[in-house]
Amino acid sequence: MNVLEVQDLRKHYPIRAGLLRREVGRVRAVDGVSFHIARGETLALVGESGCGKTTVSRCILRALTPSSGAIRFTPGEGREVDLATLPKRQMRPLRRHIQMIFQDPYASLNPRMMVGDIITEPLKVNGVPAAERRERLMELLDLVQMPPAARSRFPHAFSGGQRQRIGIARALALHPQLVVADEPVSALDVSVQAQIINLLLDLQDRLGLSMLFVAHDLSVVRHVSDRVAVMYVGRIVEIAPTDALYRAPLHPYTEALLAAVPAPDPTRQQRREAARGEVADPANPPPGCAFHPRCPYAVERCRVDRPELTATESGRWVSCHRARELDLAGVG
């Protein structure tokens, strides 16, 4: 069963100019994105800056109102709501079911609140009695491997990794149905990053978390996600189970992304045909396939005809005219 189904999501921003502020163009930040997240599954949304991955996550949290499309969320048995069209007022009772883990553990915790209050604030807002809150706080600290004494200290007493644990404990306080994690380890040092990656893996196992993991680091994503959706200029170009995507990518952009990551192995001959040129401008995307100006396999059709995300025989999804005939290189 799916906890989330996103269908044809769009978020466009008008570009206005002139005295009458007429719309002269549109930034298509998200331009027809569809995917689902099964209960207990972690889906990674990857891509380079400006690809729209953060806009997608902000639409799901309704920090942004989508231009069109559906975001069907199932908070419990038999209930389904479309977050895309829900009035803000009706969004409020649903917020407890969708929680967020932030990138910057320094900016996301209130420095004037004690750690115990930070973690239990969502419980308080939702009317959980004090005795129960204290009990839950101890559970949560244990869950994120923090000592009980941490509750009566302030955030500044903790390192980045510990703060990220506090942020995770707060996100899990209300047993959310879906966790949206936006670059949760990218601000951390390697040794601490590894601790948080392991913690997320533990929590997935123990709690059966459903998670949308927004990230740009393909190495981190390979460790933590069950499936991966690759975005390019506002659209998903490929979705596949993690291992399949890394071993045998079907979209040339996925291949280019994988080839570009420097592997921590000096004996490995680096393949360096990483995509030429630069990421296209979502205000003025190229006609046809948005990746064609950078794609080494582009043919005439790619310049005029926009490919749709379609299923392959093996049950994977890719948006490339030449997906069937190309034999692309993966990693390991």
């Binding site: 380079e48 040794s191 893996l201 190495s219 280019a256 994988l258 420097p262 921590p264």
Partner: protein, 339 residues
Amino acid sequence: MRQTPMAERVALAVRDLAVQFGSEQGVVRALDGVSFDLHAGRTLGIVGESGCGKSVTARSILRLIERPGIISGGRLLLDPGTAEETDLAALNPDSRQMRAVRGGRIGLIFQEPMTSLSVHYTVGNQLVEAVRQHSTASAAEARARAIELLREVGIPRPETRVDAYPFELSGGLRQRVGIAMALAGDPDIVIADEPTTALDVTTQAQILTLLKRLQAQKNISLMLITHDMGVIAEMADEVAVMYLGRVVEFAPVRELFAAPRHPYTRALLRAVPSILATPRQRLSTIGGAVPHPGLRPTGCAFHPRCGERIGAVCMERIPAPVPPGQAGASCFLEEVVAA
């Protein structure tokens, strides 16, 4: 490993470099006896987590440490052992000689290219100024050189881009301009401080390829500072691993990855997420976090996090630094092996 006839010439020798920052809470030793050699025409990778002192090392070499920071000891020898040997640590940071070194002999590439670029001037204005600062070129010659530099760093249509303002360029193009700025004085040493950390992965790949090509073409001695073991593996000939203001291991890159000698290097390599991971693969972790440089543990600074600690000796005594010019680790285990 690449072997060139000139490989043993040392372009820059750092010896016992110590930098401290005074504050109301006391003195923080950011660097505590750093020594290494940068070989001519090679790439030295400097790797470590935040607070290890890698950027302070770069800034010290260029004499860009600002108060309350001071170089409290050590030498920074340019062209060591030659008649032209110069100790940069002994120069006045504002002297004519140091200004000639900074941007002339030694170019600097920053993580954020806007650090070295002004928003108020065109790319061309700034490149022309950088060229003229380190040569006697006329305005017209300098402009031609600026366009040439932009072409060298792979900027398309350099004749028109030379008149662009930095904000008109993408992040990747800005970093290329940053590299052109570093090359404007025709340096033989380039220090690149996290040059690709702020970039997307496909852009990072392009910039790394560019740095490799320029280094080979111009026979530049490149000091590459990064926290990314992947970038180190791809770019470096030799690697210095830093922890809390010291070099804890120095080794040729293949040796470092195949047989790391310091427990910190071993732990760090195991903790790096890999593009080659198996699904749901857990990582080895290093307990705790890097301490603040003001709260340096006694003895070996890594001992509270070290899984291979021998005992009291690690808590009480400071292991000998790695002798410059040699591969090795600053660790008591090393001494046990040697004995």
